[in-house]
């Protein structure tokens, strides 16, 4: 942008948000030029940050956001919404400069309805703050992702996030009653107050998972739950992954509603469970299963599940290990355990499909990556942690311990691995992402994923964002 132009927009932004809420120093802008996508981080490590936003603003209310977006429309400036900056696929990177709207000052609890059990809250709130607020009053959202400590509600809504209790309580989209959104042309709208109706399609779903391309979600009404009377966690080991997957499927299709169901493949069983959780198991497939709610109901569900697990010859490792997982579940995401802090090339390719495909998809991806990238000694492990009556997610993780130092080669290798994995996903009726979103990185595959149906998204985008200013370059939309 020309300096004169920058100066003009700057003055207009100051009029909207005030001088104290506008940041234009190089250092401040640099910190907004990356999220946790490993390639972007490698990029900056090598001094290759090129994509600085022109402005970082921290609006204090919805009206300010509306005015910023109207301004951006006048000058056709890109607008990137930013929450906790913990998205893993480059969805929040300002590739074309523009205005980064950091939404975290919109963090107010607007109302708590203790009769209908819902809460209206602004989306810039950190997920942990929302959960603590609810817990101190005897409630919970039951949305407990590993990034609860670093991501915002808006981020989860925009990427259709999942928490560890999703097998019983669903993903974030299942918790939404209604949304307030600033559209890409600056109007402020509210979706219908309840999600179950027959008055047309639920338009809240246009914005959930839209990764900031169709507007800024500024507040949400979410259903809440009482904190459970009991939580049980048990650990089991199966002779192999196949048995563990079959037993888990049976638990799900029988409607036993485990709150947690985590099945680890042999690799994860050895590596993650042993090293990171400090639990000593040798082989087979490790499973943690949890039940919560009223004691009598949770116990009955648990007993039924035990029966099913026993049928598949599961060995009971006891409650202690199950509880240990619950207590230590955030540890792997802190240094020194994080892969970032070890400078590895890594990726998590979370996907989801129906029960009939799940094992095939997993085995094909494992074979493909291990064979194709054997020269790089690629390590491939996976766990299966979000279950539904109709299917489950696979959370595969690849690690290359000695990736190329050259960032361009690093980027190419990363892309080649992902490309091979994505091919397997698409060939096996899988979906590109279960909860991390698409971001910049998976954007090129969206048309292939949706086929003709992408037209619907495209028309929606063109209609709502005629100047294509909202988060360009993500979710497969054209530039």
């Amino acid at each position: 942008m020309h300096e004169f132009f920058i100066e003009r927009v700057k003055n207009e932004l100051i009029r909207i948000v005030g001088e104290n809420n506008l940041y234009i120093s190089d250092f401040d802008k640099s910190a907004y030029s990356v999220d946790v996508w490993s390639v972007s981080r490698k990029w900056v490590d090598k001094g290759l940050i090129k994509e600085l936003p022109d402005f970082v603003v921290l609006p204090e209310n919805v009206q300010q956001i509306s005015k910023i977006i109207k301004l951006a429309n006048i000058y056709s400036i890109p607008v990137i919404t930013r929450g906790g900056g913990a998205g893993g696929l480059g969805g929040g990177i300002p590739f074309f400069g523009g205005i980064v709207i950091d939404i975290k000052k919109l963090d107010k609890i607007i109302s708590l309805d203790e009769k209908s059990l819902n809460i209206k809250v602004q989306t810039g709130i950190m997920q942990i703050d929302l959960e603590k607020y609810l817990n101190s009053r005897g409630y919970t959202l039951n949305h407990l992702p590993a990034s609860i400590y670093c991501s915002t509600l808006g981020g989860f809504l925009s990427t259709r996030g999942s928490g560890v209790l999703s097998s019983k309580y669903g993903k974030i989209e299942d918790m939404v009653l209604s949304l307030e959104v600033v559209l890409p042309t600056g109007e402020i709208i509210n979706t219908l107050p309840v999600p179950r109706h027959s008055a047309g399609p639920g338009i809240e779903h246009f914005f959930i998972g839209a990764e900031g391309t169709l507007g800024v979600i500024v507040s949400a009404v979410l259903k809440i739950f009482y904190l459970p009377e009991v939580r049980y966690f048990d650990a089991y080991i199966f002779d192999d992954l196949h048995l563990a997957l079959e037993a888990s499927r049976e638990v799900m299709i029988n409607g036993l509603e485990p709150s947690v169901l985590r099945v680890y493949d042999e690799g994860d069983t050895r590596d993650v469970v042993k090293k990171e959780l400090g639990i000593d198991v040798n082989n087979g497939s490790y499973v943690v299963i949890g039940f919560d709610g009223f004691k009598s109901i949770a116990s009955a569900q648990r007993n039924m599940a035990i029966k099913i697990f026993k049928k598949y010859k599961a060995r009971d490792l006891g409650e202690k290990l199950g509880n240990q997982w619950w207590e230590n579940r955030y540890d792997p995401y802190y240094p020194p355990h994080t892969l970032e802090s070890k400078r590895d090339l890594y990726g998590v390719i979370d996907t989801i499909t129906t029960h009939d495909n799940i094992e095939k998809l997993y085995l094909s991806m494992k074979k493909e990556l291990e064979e194709k990238f054997s020269d790089w000694n690629i390590i491939f492990t996976a766990h299966f942690s979000h279950w539904y009556t109709w299917g489950a997610s696979v959370y595969p993780r690849f690690i290359v311990r000695k990736p190329p130092e050259n960032p361009y080669e690093f980027f190419r290798l990363n892309n080649a691995i992902w490309d091979a994995a994505v091919r397997v996903i698409l060939e096996n009726n899988g979906i590109l992402s279960e909860h991390h979103g698409i971001g910049f990185h998976l954007s090129p595959y969206m048309r292939e994923q949706y086929k003709e149906a992408f037209l619907v998204l495209e028309k929606l985008k063109k209609g709502l964002d005629p100047k294509n200013i909202m988060n360009p370059a993500v979710l497969g939309f054209e530039l």
Binding site: Y23, S25, D26, F27, D28, S30, A31, Y32, V34, V36, R41, V44, D45, G47, L58, G84, G85, A86, D102, K104, K105, D107, G124, M126, I128, D129, K132, Y133, S136, S147, Y149, C150, Y330, D331, Y333, Y334, P335, P336, H337, T338, E340, S341
Partner: protein
Amino acid sequence: MYVNDYLDTINKWKHCPMANYVCPVARYTKLETNTPRGLAFIYSLIVDNLKDIDEVTIERIYQCNLCRACEAISRDDSSIPEFILAARRDIVEMKMAPEPVIRLKDDICNNNKLCDMDRVKDLASNSKSTPETVVVLNYESESSKKIFSIIKKLLAENNIDCAEINIGKYPAPAAMLRELGYQDLSSKVLNNLTYIIKNVKFRKMVFITPYDLELLLKSQTVDIDNMSQGLVHAFEFLEEFINEKVKRIDKKKEKIIYIDSEGNRKSDKFYEIPRKLLIDVAGFDIKEMVWNKKESFSCGGLTLQYLYCDIFDGIIKIISNELKDYNIKKVVTPCPHCIENLCTNPDLKDNYEIIDLWEALFTINKPGG
């Protein structure tokens, strides 16, 4: 560069957002470059010679409250605040310290007796203490004065001699100067403090705030080994005193809110003492602030209010907003300096009774037996 000792810490945290939520500064400003990750990230650009340090980076480095909340939740011994301290030392050596930092440094040096050896010698020679005296190292403030008067009265009732050494305007000059990046001046204060310890007679020397005591005990350069037994933090002494001298404290089932003190860190051995005293000994029904315990929030810290008062005020306001939720008007925190910080907020000052442990135990509950 001192910061070179912390490259590992910077590398570990510059991409990890998992400590951002505990940072009181970032919780107020919401700005990425105020978070632990953001600070490590921007400084990595400097240590990797990708960018030159500038005024904004220096400002961000001094906006860190050094509350150590991010350190407390770390899963290893990497410490963002230690990296910040090193960066500040470098900034001071490069003569790039911002104006308010220099002003505060000068004010501490001018208004604190421990900064000047002549005044230290006066303090020592004017002391009338004996080897049986409990000497309280105090500073000039309303709340610390109040605490001292309670200590004095209680000790008198038990025939224990008590004396005060008043060090001046600020509660912890060595810790404050270190926070500002003036390590040499901080070491000098510790040496002067050692002079007092060696030249004043006492049975116990009680530090009314823990910061300088902590530095002294950790210091490699000062030698107080054989005397360190007698040096205690105020509520360690309180616990000891209650165990030895107070047979019964009336149990009062009163509801109070407990705010962790920033000076009382989770890694400290005396971290749980205040809770033990309030709950087990005095029978209070305590409501913990949301960020207490492992993820302790900050009372506002030692120096932030003099450098970036808007951020300081913002942090206190967050505390004040949380308090409104509880409908309890009595607030206890185990450090007089925290009380002063909290009372800078008119809403808190006017609508709550904010008291220290000593007051909670001995003014509300009269000692029995």
